[in-house]
Symmetry: C2
Subunit: 216 residues, 2 copies
């Protein structure tokens, strides 16, 4: 499949590497069509399937698109990409709206809105599915690195899009426990959880962690 | 030990029952000194250790105080109790600042503040420890009802107070995994997690659940 990834940070590159290794054609997009991190990524992979270009190039290229930009930049990046390049496509939103301008990490938006909802409202003909924003980067595509079948969540309005993303999570990335939280408003839950995640990252004595919902 | 519990809802009564069963003297406090729920609770327990009175009575009575009031009412209740009845005591804050006035459950305060912090700021000579706000009520005092040694979190500025609360959680209630998140500002993490908890409660097919942090 042809997949566009917006963002050349560690999240975008890690997901991109996994997808190329699985045999997909991947284009990493950034502001700069010759972004040094994207060039180094493609060069290291040494595959004709590892491509790069602008955000717009990557969105045009992808049948499915991953939003791996900084949450604070996501809406602006997507507006630049244009509605026509996102229309009728699945947009997998992996970002968190961290606001680093306060003394403690906070979120913007938060509580009565979420970035997932903002993106869905801005692009009503795109199928936004929020997922994978709740764990360490390398756990996203290698969930077995944390033992115990931990959980990943999906939020979105379109059931078929969520089914497709669930298959990607399960069959491509290896997630065994995928919890459908409901419509895109449940993005608030997974985004707001990240403040607890930030607290946990400071005190958990392990390189990686993730939560598991235990039931009686 | 003499323990004051502010609030006669299911949280207050459940914790109160457990403490009486453990042999402690417990006073449930409410606005009404003859609150019907408190009277029924004491009558059902049929123990001389199960007492009730006003919020102020309960706070005066307790060496340790549990705040089990609605988050939206907590500060007002505590102001009514008075600084002198809370001074130098441990206040275990179990409440969540749910705001039901919006179409979806939201929090007030949130993100750049928390109820735990508001209470600590309002009562600087009280040792506020936030805990037990992140799980179903009956799991709070019977953690083994959810298998798998799930987690409870503690947040607070005073280390000795957190140690005392950790002992209560472990020795009285049976918690085996207690995670100290840090100072009272980490109340934001556990309070904001509750929006994910509300999402989970709708979709998890079980009477009770709780999260466990799995590490690699």
């Amino acid at each position: 499949m042809e997949i566009g990834i917006l963002g050349t940070g560690t999240v975008g590159r890690t997901i991109g590497t996994k997808l190329v290794q699985l045999g997909h054609e991947v284009m990493l997009g950034s502001r700069d069509p010759a972004n040094p991190k994207a060039i180094a990524w493609a060069s290291k992979l040494g595959s004709p399937h590892a491509l790069y270009g602008t955000f717009k190039n990557a969105a045009e290229f992808g049948e499915i698109i991953f939003n791996c930009t900084l949450g604070s930049a996501s809406l602006q990046v997507l507006q630049g990409v244009g509605t026509e390049n996102l229309k009728d496509k699945i947009l997998i939103d992996v970002s968190n709206p961290f606001n680093y301008s306060t003394d403690k990490i906070a979120l913007m938006p938060c509580n009565t809105d979420s970035l997932g909802e903002q993106i869905q409202r801005a692009f009503p003909e795109t199928h936004v599915v929020k997922t994978l924003n709740t764990m360490n980067i390398n756990v996203m595509v290698e969930p077995d690195k944390v033992p115990g079948r931990t959980d990943v969540f999906v939020s979105g309005n379109n059931l078929k899009a969520k089914e497709a993303v669930t298959e990607i999570l399960r069959d491509w990335f290896g997630w065994k426990s995928i919890i459908d939280l409901g419509d895109i408003t449940t993005s608030r839950g997974v985004e707001m959880y990240m403040i607890l995640w930030v607290c946990l990252r400071r005190v958990v004595d392990a390189e990686r962690f993730n939560i598991k919902v235990m039931t009686s």
